[in-house]
């Protein structure tokens, strides 16, 4: 994964990180660069500090510390030597570069009558390596198919951060858009028009309005747009058949989803929650679930074997939190590519 972001790094950081073992380079998830402080890298949910000679330690003593010159070079490279062209990105606090990698920034903010206008004196970078897992949704999709309408059921995907929600919805968007229904009876269905509201530029990772991830040929992306507004705009302008939104949770998001489901549009949304019980503790989500805006709820969990999902029909939720008709084990499948071959 290092190879995907190495072009962003100044030469001294590049040489240092290339000393990592090949396996480590492959598992790299985050590179945290803080000016004058130890260099930290993240992989498989863990983090280590990096020494001058490329070894990894848990303690920060003697770690390599990026100089201000290095940080300046990094900033120039990720902004294409044009910080002035990144005002919107600086207001949001991160830059999305081509390839979908996202670079979080921290530093001293500039305020304009109490509103953050941007960041100056950027002292910390967090490079998050984006990964596109094609086929991540192939086990989940067959369970979400709406046979009558030849489309997807409205689905809410629940998981804590860093569990692969975004990867999953991106793949759902791609499959639905291409018409790659991984199910025998749906084999000859057409692809559907998909609308993605990508508030944080994570799903499609647009650069200047053009998705850098493959989200399918029939997909329209509203990039960096507030979800509620974006959903309404797409509804009015692009007539989507499946609407995808990441991390819903505000009251206006609920409004927009209700509007979409009344218009007969399937909504696939994600939300931060450990499980269904926790999701029901959030008023907006509970209201949506009670009103039947979603047909299915999917819980994701990342385990050693890969990402597991559990599908719960939403009409069962009203009666009991645990699905009564099916056992959890039936519905647990590994989403990871490694285990796919083991599945029937």
């Amino acid at each position: 994964m290092l190879a995907r972001v190495v072009h962003l790094l100044p030469s001294e950081l590049k040489t240092l990180l290339e000393r990592l073992s090949e396996q480590m380079q492959e598992q790299l998830e985050e590179i945290r660069i803080r000016e004058g402080r130890p260099l930290e890298i993240g992989f498989r949910g863990q983090s280590r500090f990096m020494m001058q000679d490329g070894t990894l330690r848990q303690s920060a003593d003697g770690a390599y510390k990026p100089s201000s010159d290095t940080c300046r070079k990094l900033l120039e490279r990720i902004t294409n030597y044009s910080l002035y062209a990144m005002e919107e990105e600086l207001r949001r606090g991160f830059i999305t570069v081509s390839g979908g990698h996202r670079i979080g920034l921290a530093g001293r903010t500039i305020l304009d009558s109490g509103v953050v206008r941007g960041i100056r004196d950027i002292g910390a970078f967090n490079i998050r390596v984006a990964r596109e897992v094609i086929g991540a949704s192939s086990h989940l999709l067959p369970k979400l198919i709406d046979r009558e309408r030849k489309t997807l059921h409205s689905t809410l995907i629940l998981a804590p951060p860093q569990q692969g929600k975004t990867t999953l919805v991106r793949d759902i968007a791609r499959s639905v858009s291409y018409g790659l229904w991984p199910s025998a009876e749906a084999g000859n269905w057409q692809g559907r028009k998909v609308g993605i509201v990508d508030e944080r530029s994570e799903i499609a990772a647009c650069v200047r309005g053009i998705p850098t991830f493959d989200v399918g040929p029939r997909t329209d992306v509203m990039d960096a747009c507030p979800k509620a507004e974006g959903m309404m705009m797409l509804l009015r302008s692009m007539s989507p058949e499946v609407l995808i939104a990441d991390e819903i949770g505000r009251p206006e998001d609920g409004e927009a989803i209700r509007e979409a489901s009344h218009a007969g549009i399937s909504v696939v949304a994600t939300a931060h929650a450990f499980d269904l019980q926790e999701a029901r503790g959030r008023p907006v989500l509970r209201k949506l679930l009670d009103e039947g805006a979603f047909t299915y709820v999917v819980e994701l969990k990342r385990t050693d074997q890969g990402i597991m999902h559990r599908v719960v029909p939403a009409d069962a939720i009203g009666r009991a939190v645990q699905p009564s008709s099916r056992t959890a084990a039936d519905n647990v499948h590994a989403l990871s590519g490694r285990l796919r071959a083991d599945d029937p």
Partner: protein, 172 residues
Amino acid sequence: MIKLLGAILILFAGTMIGFQQAARFAERPRQLRQLAHALQRLDTEIGYGHTPLPEALERTAVATPEPLASLFRKAASGILETESFTFRESWEQAINLHWDATSMRGNEKAALIRLGSTLGISDKEDQMKHIRLALLQLKAEEDAARDDQGRYEKMWKSLGILIAVLIVILMV
């Protein structure tokens, strides 16, 4: 006969030297004006077009006559060619490389180098302020250069030929 030929050669050489010196005085305000136009263009690209810096420099180069065009082009290509360069280093390298081809002097060079250390690393308003500051300095230099041109251009033109005549007279 040979004496006459020598005298003509000396006269010719003296005139040419004089004209060349005069041309330098005529050239400098013209190039300063071109540089100011180029920076104004850069200002527009950055302030209104939000064009990324390498592309903005390329576009500026297209609209600027030589030798300034190659300076801008070199600054843009330097960052792509040499991986370890910051923009400031690439800019300074481009200036040092192409400066001798221009008729400009140390003052405007200093102003340009100062501008290079700020380009691309701050927000739009800041960038525009720095470019405008450089423009003001160039304007002042241009005025001074025009004064010099008025004063010395004609002088050098006649001085060259007059010195040549003097040498010929002394030799005869």
